[in-house]
């Protein structure tokens, strides 16, 4: 069946709720309205207000309540209307939830999910990619799917995982990409990267919507005889160190690409992993392409300037190839 990225997530959650009565959804406007992006559209009719719980506008309460319910052996899925708003619940996530298993041996099998990402002219509070806030939090897993197939398989894996998972859905991809999704039940394991395109000359390590930026750049470069390899991380915590090392060992030149600001971004962490795992295999400097060190601007020309573009990847790839 051909499904959009959004429909794939929706189907994944639905199937898990059908499969396991311990799974329930909690969030703002997710019931009769079906969520701001309609991910839970129709869920309340099937599963009832008991398992599709509309809450007050209170992000700390949503996460706290989801965590509390998980302590009784349930698997809550907490929706954030926009992942930008997750800052409101940061203390609950970072101090209460993430540390629970380490501190007092309490597993917290909950999923916190919602739309993130820019290129939709949402402005500073509806476009952010705040995944790094959570990558730096031991105890959490952080997932950022780039394809509809992965989005469904990863959300199902996240729901079944015994750890708190922060699940970033890229809203630019919600209805822009469509793929054939198998009818049978499947999961995509957390912590495993995916080879989005094989190539021999240079590697781009990226994830989420930037996978498509890299793939477009690869098409341009292919016409010039430069073969770009594109590694889609899928999970940004824990990172797939083996896959990162492998692609570097294969192409010996690497570009790290992400949509969030450059300073303190994931590229720095991946560069350190490459240093540790594959330094001797490098034939050139590790190149970073990232957003500006600013908030996400609203006006389309400004946002376009802020975000990494296909032309940035093409330019840097040419430069690195020639190095």
């Amino acid at each position: 069946m051909q499904l959009t990225y959004l429909e794939a997530i929706r189907q994944g959650i639905w199937e898990e709720m059908e499969r396991d009565p311990a799974v329930f959804c909690i969030g703002e406007d997710i019931g009769i309205y079906g969520g701001a992006f309609k991910v839970t559209d129709g869920f309340i009719d099937r599963f009832g207000p008991e398992r599709v719980i509309d809450t007050p506008i209170a992000e700390s309460a949503i996460v706290g309540a989801a965590f509390g319910a998980s302590l009784t052996g349930l698997r809550p899925i907490a929706e954030f209307q926009f992942m930008d708003f997750i800052g409101c619940a940061f203390n609950q996530i970072s101090n209460m939830v993430a540390k629970a298993h380490y501190r007092w041996n309490a597993p917290a099998p909950l999923v916190i999910r919602g739309p993130s990402g820019g290129n939709v002219h949402g402005g500073p509070f509806h476009s952010q990619n705040p995944e790094m806030w959570f990558v730096h939090n031991p105890g959490l897993k952080v997932v950022c799917p780039a394809s509809a197939y992965d989005a469904k398989g990863l959300i199902k894996a996240a729901i079944r995982d015994n750890n708190p998972v922060i699940f970033f859905e890229h809203k630019y991809l919600y209805r822009r990409i469509k793929e054939e999704i198998p009818a049978e039940d499947y999961i995509v394991p957390l912590g495993k990267a995916r080879m989005a395109r094989e190539g021999r000359d240079l590697s781009v390590i990226t994830y989420a919507a930037m996978v498509f930026t890299a793939l477009e750049a690869a098409e341009v470069l292919a016409k010039e005889g430069v073969e770009l390899e594109v590694l889609d991380l899928r999970t940004v915590s824990p990172l797939d160190r083996d896959a990162i090392a492998q692609t570097v060992k294969k192409t010996n030149k690497v570009i790290l690409l992400h949509e969030h600001p450059r300073t303190g971004g994931l590229a720095g962490e991946i560069a350190a992993i490459i240093n540790e795992e594959a330094f001797d295999d490098l034939d050139g400097p590790i190149v970073r392409i990232a957003a500006l060190d600013t908030p996400v601007p609203f006006s389309p020309p400004q946002e376009e300037f802020f975000l990494p573009k296909v032309s940035d990847v093409v330019r840097e790839a040419r430069r690195l190839k020639a190095y």
Partner: protein
């Protein structure tokens, strides 16, 4: 402004009908009531004043009133009074033992005390059933004892021992257990337990069981936003949360007069649309009765209750803090209202449920228990350094996740196929 009601024998009625607007719907003014069970209503306030070159706190008001009697419990049996008295003694004496351990440099870091608040910790937790849940704050070490943790558990937490409930990973009352004791470990920031305990009640309700869940917040901690979020969520969802607002007059060094402007924190209940009640937190019977009624409401599925327990923190914020900022007359006033001494007097002299000999025996018994626990804790090993590494994640089947109270009820449906969603236009 809330109108005060005299304590009534129909407590059940008053507590379930409080915080609702009066029935005269035509009235242009609504009135709300908060029952006050206390047998005295001290009136004083603490302000910052200049004295010479210094700014200090000054207390004004009447602090000369005689100590009120214990308010007879409607629910506790004679035997339960004695048990509760023992918990309070254990709580107090365990903290004295902790202070000694600290002075002997056996404690890592500081020690937090609940001196003067033992009635509130112990009698509240005593109202919960075994399968129900509690989330303690830093001073509710007595609640942890009542929930079945040993004094040695708390001592080992403070001494950072390998055998502590957190295996050395956290200190003080920062521990819990989801299997047997049903205790949620607190974190250092205030108010965060409130939505979590509400969530525990939600989880149980999804599994077909209305349980009471209890947690605490101070006069300082109630200023946080998550306190509002959590209690409002519990109110909207009608969850069986019993929230003790422990108004101990000081948030670290800041007096309650600088934390809020309402006269009584129980008035906050009105804003949440839930019942609230004011009690004397140094009277174990009032604490128990209020907790019991709130728990019963919770079990009937009638939602949360806010209980403001008034008392005073009789030591500094932690052991390093001599609390010299507290005006001395306040200490003198509350020392006369010491919760353990008053409860002992009630049991030994007023009701004569324990003879002085039996009381001595009980005290000796508590001392002996603490001595054993202390020896065990002191002699237990520190953790191996490498034990710091594992455990951030639940891996390799270290836990089996399954609903604690039963499989959640699932709605039957004729059609279980997912319909395609309508296209949303939001930020397309």
């Amino acid at each position: 402004m809330a109108k005060k009601k005299k304590p009534t024998n129909k407590i059940q009625r008053s507590i379930s009908r409080t915080s609702r607007p009066s029935e005269n719907l035509n009235s242009a003014h609504r009135t709300y009531t908060i029952p006050d069970w206390r047998l005295e209503r001290p009136q004083f306030s603490v302000k910052q004043i200049h004295v010479g070159d210094e700014v200090r706190y000054e207390v004004t008001g009447d602090l000369s009133a005689p100590v009120p009697p214990i308010r007879e419990s409607k629910y506790l049996t004679k035997q339960q009074h004695i048990e509760l008295y023992r918990w309070m003694l254990l709580n107090r004496k365990m903290e004295a033992a902790l202070e000694n351990l600290y002075k002997q440099s056996k404690v890592v870091g500081g020690v937090y005390f609940g001196l003067g608040q033992e009635a509130c910790s112990c009698a509240s937790a005593y109202a919960l059933k075994k399968e129900e849940w509690l989330g303690p704050m830093i001073r509710n070490q007595g609640s942890l004892l009542v929930r079945g943790f040993a004094p040695s558990d708390i001592m080992m937490q403070y001494m950072a021992k390998a055998g502590s409930p957190t295996k050395g990973r956290d200190a003080s009352s920062h521990f819990g257990d989801i299997d047997e004791h049903n205790v949620v470990a607190p974190i250092s920031t205030l108010g965060d337990l409130i939505p979590v305990l509400a969530g525990v009640a939600l989880g149980a309700r999804l599994q077909g069981k209305n349980i009471a869940v209890m947690t605490y917040i101070g006069d300082g901690g109630q200023s946080t936003g998550v306190t509002y979020e959590g209690l409002n969520f519990a109110a909207v969802q009608n969850l069986g949360l019993v929230l003790f607002v422990e108004n101990n007059l000081w948030g670290y060094s800041t007096p309650s007069d600088m934390q809020f402007r309402v006269k009584d924190l129980a008035e906050r209940a009105i804003a949440y649309g839930i019942p609230g009640v004011i009690i004397d937190g140094t009277d174990a019977c009032q604490v128990y009765d209020a907790a019991h009624e709130a728990c019963e409401r919770a079990r009937r599925g009638e939602g949360p209750t806010l209980i403001e327990a008034k008392m005073m923190r009789m030591k500094g914020h932690a052991i390093h803090d001599a609390a010299e900022y507290v005006p001395k007359p306040l200490f003198d006033y509350w020392k006369k209202r010491d919760c353990v001494a008053r409860f002992k007097n009630y049991i030994v002299n007023v009701t004569k449920w324990l003879t002085p000999d039996q009381d001595r025996q009980l005290i000796e018994d508590v001392d002996k228990q603490l001595e054993n626990d202390r020896d065990f804790a002191v002699n237990s090993p520190m953790p191996e350094p490498g034990t710091a590494a594992p455990g951030a994640y639940c891996e390799n089947g270290c836990h089996e996740i399954k609903p604690k109270y039963g499989v959640p009820t699932v709605r039957r449906a004729n059609n279980t196929t997912l319909k395609r969603s309508e296209a949303a236009v939001h930020l397309e």
